[in-house]
């Protein structure tokens, strides 16, 4: 800050005109240091304010109205929320969202932890290859994943049913029942995210000081004991980070079930796999005159994510400690 005024004595030369010019540059320099930071952060805050923050706040306001996105709206207080509580499709979507989240996330995190632990072996050959190969699913678009998996799980000619038939299992109509559609969708999610999470956990593992392991090894602790006594406890912050990220992403599940069900926003004929995000889309965008109700669903989803994130945070901290 003090350097912004370079009016060193030796520069203050006797002649008058140059001195005036210099004081102007000094003033400009001061203005520059004062204003520049705000100018530099302004693009983010202006655009985020208009297209991020404002719509979010407006969601809350909208949810208190009977709102038509391209028409009239009237204030109705909390009526949308009372209606939500008695809406069986809302509860169906809630059960589906939370159910698929658990079915997808629990095995995914355990598998990611296992993979990260394997990749963390000190004398592993080809580590860059392995890292890149398990990460590659994450760079595919969800739409593409949905298309490919829908075919893998196709009833008559799909690879999965063909493999199962080898085990003597009859062809499964994967999108016709709740358990089977949840399994297929959870597998899509896990295929795309397990490697990503494994790499994040691996990064956390590599930050653990090596001498802890050496000391444990000298004390005769085996590999598994080291994993449970050193790696897991030391990994808590990273694990919390991964769990929170998975929660925020997992509860907003939308594209996988949509593409899996061939674009049906209801998620199967009996809404077997409609998520809250899909229900919000159905009410708020597919039918514009119930946008207020859609906004209430969006707000409920937001609250749910906040609550689940806090619960997960507490759970992870307690179990690992």
């Amino acid at each position: 800050m003090s350097l912004a005024t370079p009016a060193r004595p030796k520069h203050v030369a006797p002649p008058d005109p140059p001195r005036r010019r210099q004081s102007r540059t000094v003033r400009l320099a001061r203005l520059d240091t004062k204003l520049s930071p705000y100018l530099y952060v302004a693009p983010f805050f202006i655009l985020f304010g208009v297209f991020g923050l404002y719509p979010m706040i407006r969601t809350g306001w909208m949810s208190l109205h009977d709102w038509d996105l391209i028409g009239e709206h009237t204030f109705i207080g909390f009526d949308n929320y009372t209606a939500l509580l008695g809406d069986e499709y809302f509860w169906n979507a809630t059960v589906n969202t939370l159910g698929m989240f658990v079915v997808a996330t629990v095995p995914q995190l355990i598998l990611a932890l296992f993979l990260a632990n394997l990749l963390n072996r000190t004398r592993l050959r080809g580590r860059t290859f392995f890292r890149m190969a398990i990460f590659v699913p994450n760079i595919t678009s969800v739409a593409a994943v949905g298309i490919v998996f829908a075919m893998l799980f196709q009833r008559d000619f799909g690879v999965v049913n063909w493999l199962l038939s080898g085990l003597g299992v009859d062809a499964i109509d994967w999108d016709a029942q709740r358990w089977s559609s949840w399994t297929a969708i959870a597998l899509m999610v896990d295929w795309r995210w397990t490697g990503y999470n494994a790499l994040i956990l691996l990064a956390g593992m590599q930050a653990i000081p090596k001498d802890l392991y050496e000391a444990a090894a000298i004390d005769g602790a085996g590999q598994w004991r080291q994993f449970f006594r050193i790696t897991l406890p030391m990994l808590t912050p990273t694990f919390v980070f991964v769990v929170i990220l998975s929660t925020i992403g997992g509860l907003q599940l939308f594209t996988e079930p949509l593409v899996f069900g061939n674009g049906n926003m209801r998620g199967g004929t009996q809404r077997e796999f409609q998520t809250l995000a899909m229900y919000m889309f159905e009410k708020g965008i597919n039918s514009l005159n119930t946008a207020g109700y859609g906004a209430a669903i969006a707000f409920a989803l937001f609250l749910m994510i906040a609550v689940v994130a806090v619960i997960n945070f507490a759970l992870v901290r307690r179990t690992v400690k």
């Binding site: 520049s36 930071p37 952060v41 719509p55 008559d156």
Partner: protein, 276 residues
């Protein structure tokens, strides 16, 4: 003792299995994309590529219901503009947060961290209404302008600038009479280049893969690639080889990016995880 540090064959077997599971759906995608329809609708399902890719992709090109080529070009344009915007705004703001002092700096930085945690779907419906008010429905503006800034980008650049640029360097530049914007251009930007490249790659891939929002505001008349793929797969779900040919072509650009820059992308993601 020695036993503990040796990598057992079981480790390799498990890892190779994970690799096969990761790669198989890609392979399968190319198998179906290069097969004729009757080969697909048979038992057992095909496991090796065929020679029908040309025919299959020709059907995609002839299909004017999904505008695949337009979607491809649109995705290229949108992803490029968003990437340039996110990197420019991210480096500027990241530099300000890391190296400049101004009133309200910490509060604003905290606001950025908080916004990274808020689920994006919360504002979806009102934003859709705004797009109608602006006349941006079915226009690329709707999937570009709201996304040329990113909280993650600002935060990542701030973290990197804090440790990569010394205060002395900036002070020296000031003593030499550099204006702040010159410092940004001549000192900060070159120093941030490795991290900015990773941010650019991540942003490009993320924008390329965006689905929910483009699906909400665009139609098959003027789609992005993902929207085009979705409509193609809904309408022609019995013509798997056509849909898969399109999907494969839409996936190849990202595979190429990953082949060339995968190491940096993974490095960036792993570094970011430890710091935040």
């Amino acid at each position: 003792m020695k036993q503990l540090w040796r990598t057992s064959p079981l480790t390799y077997i498990a890892l190779v299995l994970a690799v096969l599971l990761s790669v198989y759906p890609f392979y399968y995608m190319f198998v179906i994309a290069t097969r004729s329809l009757d080969a697909i609708n048979s038992v057992p399902p095909p496991f090796s590529p065929g020679e029908a890719f040309g025919d299959n992709f020709q059907r995609v090109l002839d299909n004017d219901a999904a505008n695949f080529v337009k979607g491809l070009v649109n995705s290229l344009v949108v992803s490029t503009v968003v990437t340039v915007g996110v990197v420019a705004s991210g480096t500027l703001a990241g530099f300000a947060f890391a190296k400049l002092r101004f009133r309200g700096r910490n509060a604003l930085l905290l606001a950025i961290v908080v916004t990274m945690m808020v689920p994006t779907q919360l504002g979806l419906i009102p934003l859709w209404g705004m797009m109608s008010d602006f006349g941006w429905q079915d226009s690329l503006r709707a999937v570009t302008i709201p996304f040329v800034v990113s909280a993650f980008g600002v935060f990542m650049m701030r973290q990197y600038a804090t440790q990569a640029i010394s205060d002395e360097l900036i002070e020296a530049a000031r003593v030499d009479g550099c204006s702040t914007i010159r410092i940004y251009w001549n000192v900060v930007l070159p120093a941030l280049r490795p991290a900015a490249a990773v941010l650019g790659l991540l942003t490009f891939m993320d924008t390329w893969n965006q689905f929910l929002w483009p699906y909400a505001v665009l139609t098959p008349d003027n789609p992005t690639l993902q929207v085009s793929l979705a409509f193609l797969s809904y309408a022609y779900y019995t013509d798997y080889s056509q849909v898969f040919a399109a999907t494969a072509v839409g996936t190849v650009p990202l595979l190429l990016v990953f082949l060339f820059f995968g190491r940096q992308i993974i490095g960036g993601i792993m570094e970011g995880a430890v710091k935040s």
